[in-house]
């Protein structure tokens, strides 16, 4: 199967001016401008098949948004190949732009002073949509995202959540085959986040759309993505199933054991590992991955254990651990 998104050694280098703060440094910089190249994206490669929802993770400044901008045609890559639906994005051919969409949580695509419904109408003509198809899709989106009471208000009068829902509707009116979603739930309350998540899932299931999603909310990723791609310092460091992420990157496992005769305090457990919690006779321990088997044997030998479970740490902890690691450790 030909991948919908094909990225091979894609790189983007920015030339940035470095200077210290203060007036003196600013004046010095006028005469002697120090420039250096920053590799925002460094030889990143991956493929995405039709209908996949892939989470694109990385800390701030990792190169996620730059990659999305290259794939949506906003930026020209410095090197490498980026192809989407067989098109080269930066050529910005009409046939390509008509089949993809880019939603950026911090950017407003709707016309600020007039109701969203008027922006929808503009998209109808810009994307050359048949009137009946447009009405059908619009009504469907209005229904799914519960937009009826808000699309007739000027966009500037909408709340962030309402505006984001309208943004997503506007971005999907032309039924794009590829969705680049950059922090679509940024700043939204929990209910709005959940609604948008459910909507993306429905859209993907209904139209078989391919989705590349960045989000700082792990709940978004866990709810939507089986596969994640992680980039850090511009380099790809993981591409695989979300469930395997913890296995690959976590240095520890969590063991929960229910004891028949629980002691009064946790002092006796410190030899096994870090005590995470102790409640109702159940002890939770963080144990280095390589010691897991040995420590479980020791625990079972030394205590009367009614039940024991071994778990990977929460995905958020794993991601935090990866992002906190120095550049060298990851490469």
């Amino acid at each position: 199967m030909t991948p919908i998104v094909h990225v091979e050694k894609l790189s983007k280098t920015y030339s940035v001016t470095d200077r210290e703060g203060g007036l003196k440094a600013a004046l010095k910089n006028l005469v002697n401008r120090k420039k250096r190249d920053v590799k925002a994206v460094n030889e990143v490669s991956f493929d995405i098949d039709a209908g996949e929802i892939v989470g694109f993770l990385g800390p701030n400044g990792a190169g996620k948004t730059t990659t999305l901008k290259m794939l949506s045609g906003l930026l020209h890559p410095t090197a490498g190949v980026g192809q989407v639906l067989g098109f080269t994005p930066y050529k910005r051919e009409r046939a390509y732009l008509s089949q993809m969409t880019l939603v950026m949580g911090q950017r407003n695509q709707l016309i600020w002073d007039i109701p969203a419904t008027d922006s929808f109408d503009l998209n109808r003509v810009v994307y050359r949509l048949n009137l009946d198809d447009f009405k059908r899709t619009r009504d469907e989106l209005v229904d799914l995202l519960e937009l009826a009471p808000i699309i007739t208000k000027p966009v500037r009068n909408l709340s962030l959540g309402e505006r984001m829902k309208c943004e997503i509707a506007a971005a999907l009116l032309h039924r794009p085959k590829v969705l680049f979603l950059d922090e679509p739930t940024l700043g939204l309350d929990v209910t709005s986040q959940r609604r948008i998540r459910a909507f993306i899932k429905d859209y993907n299931a209904k139209y078989g759309a391919t989705v590349l999603l960045t989000s700082h909310y792990m709940a978004d990723i866990e709810a939507l993505c089986k596969r994640v791609i992680i980039i850090h310092h511009g380099k790809l460091i993981f591409d695989g199933e979300l469930s395997k992420l913890a296995h690959q990157f976590s240095a520890d496992k969590t063991i929960s054991a229910t004891l028949e005769n629980p002691p009064e305090n946790t002092d006796a457990f410190k030899v096994y590992g870090e005590v995470l919690g102790y409640e109702d006779g159940q002890i939770r321990l963080k144990i280095p991955k390589q010691n897991t088997s040995a420590m479980i044997s020791k625990l079972l030998n030394e205590w009367s254990v009614l039940d024991v479970t071994i778990q990977e740490p929460p995905i958020e902890d794993v991601i935090e651990h990866i992002f906190a690691s120095p550049k060298e450790a990851q490469s």
Partner: protein, 264 residues
């Protein structure tokens, strides 16, 4: 494309109608400029015995009343908005759509200009009543004025667009824009009719595009240019429009390659 323009025009009207007071205040500023020039040149003419280089007080009145109309129809503010779009990364939303952003600029430009005619035309009549210009209605001149002002409008728009695109290189192009407006002020016939400039400056003015944006359409409207020369002038205007379209297209292609889509 007609369908796109229909919706763009409707949306632009809806936007402009949101802020009628802002438009009225903006318009007041536009009215002041020709009135100030008119007052200055009228006093110079009076102090010199009634005329300056053959231009009477009534001629100045006619010139600056016509400038009110021509200046309005050829002004360009996209020269500023392009910088803002580039600096703030706002251009991104236009680039991901299958439509060139210039179409929204064109619509915004003409809707605003047409709407403001509601204020401009009465203001012209008011000034005509106050300053008694040397105006004689010439239907032929009005007919010749129509292509001249359309080409001048296109020139003003394209000139602003081309200079505005410099923001892709400099990010803040305010100084360049100021320089453009300064040259426009002197070489277009805005600050004074070109007849009053020294020979050298007048010759430079004929080489640059500015004269074809302001003084040419004014002189056509006032019937100050013989008919055959009007045709040559229209040809020069057309040549400039074609040259600027090609230049704008070329620079645009280079510009989007440089776009860094900041933010987001």
């Amino acid at each position: 494309m007609i369908n796109i323009y229909k919706v763009l025009i409707r949306n632009e009207l809806l936007v402009e109608l949101q802020y009628p007071l802002a438009l009225a205040i903006w318009m007041l500023e536009k009215l002041l400029e020709p009135i100030i020039y008119l007052a200055v040149w009228t006093s110079v003419a009076v102090s010199q015995g009634g005329d300056v280089n053959g231009l009477t007080v009534a001629d100045f009145a006619a010139y600056y009343i016509a400038l009110l109309l021509v200046g309005h129809l050829t002004q360009n503010w996209h020269i500023w908005t392009i910088e803002w779009y580039v600096r703030e990364g706002q251009l991104s939303k236009y680039l991901v759509r299958p439509m060139h952003p210039i179409h929204e600029s064109i619509t915004n430009d003409w809707i605003y200009k047409l709407m403001m005619m509601v204020v401009i035309l009465p203001a012209m009549f008011l000034l005509a009543w106050l300053f008694s210009p040397s105006l004689q209605f010439d239907f032929g001149a009005v007919l010749r004025f129509i292509p001249a002002i359309c080409l001048a409008g296109a020139l003003g728009f394209l000139g602003g667009w081309v200079v505005g695109l410099s923001a892709f290189w400099t990010t803040r192009n305010g100084t360049l824009v100021q320089m453009y407006f300064l040259m426009m002020l002197f070489f277009s016939g805005r600050i004074a009719p070109l007849e009053l400039l020294p020979d050298f400056m007048r010759q430079v003015a004929f080489i640059l595009p500015f004269r074809w944006i302001i003084s040419f359409p004014i002189e056509v409207l006032l019937g100050w240019i013989p008919q055959q020369e009007v045709m040559i002038g229209l040809g020069i205007q057309f040549g400039w429009v074609v040259a600027l379209i090609l230049l704008a297209m070329g620079i645009w292609q280079m510009s989007v390659r440089r776009y860094s889509a900041v933010g987001g």
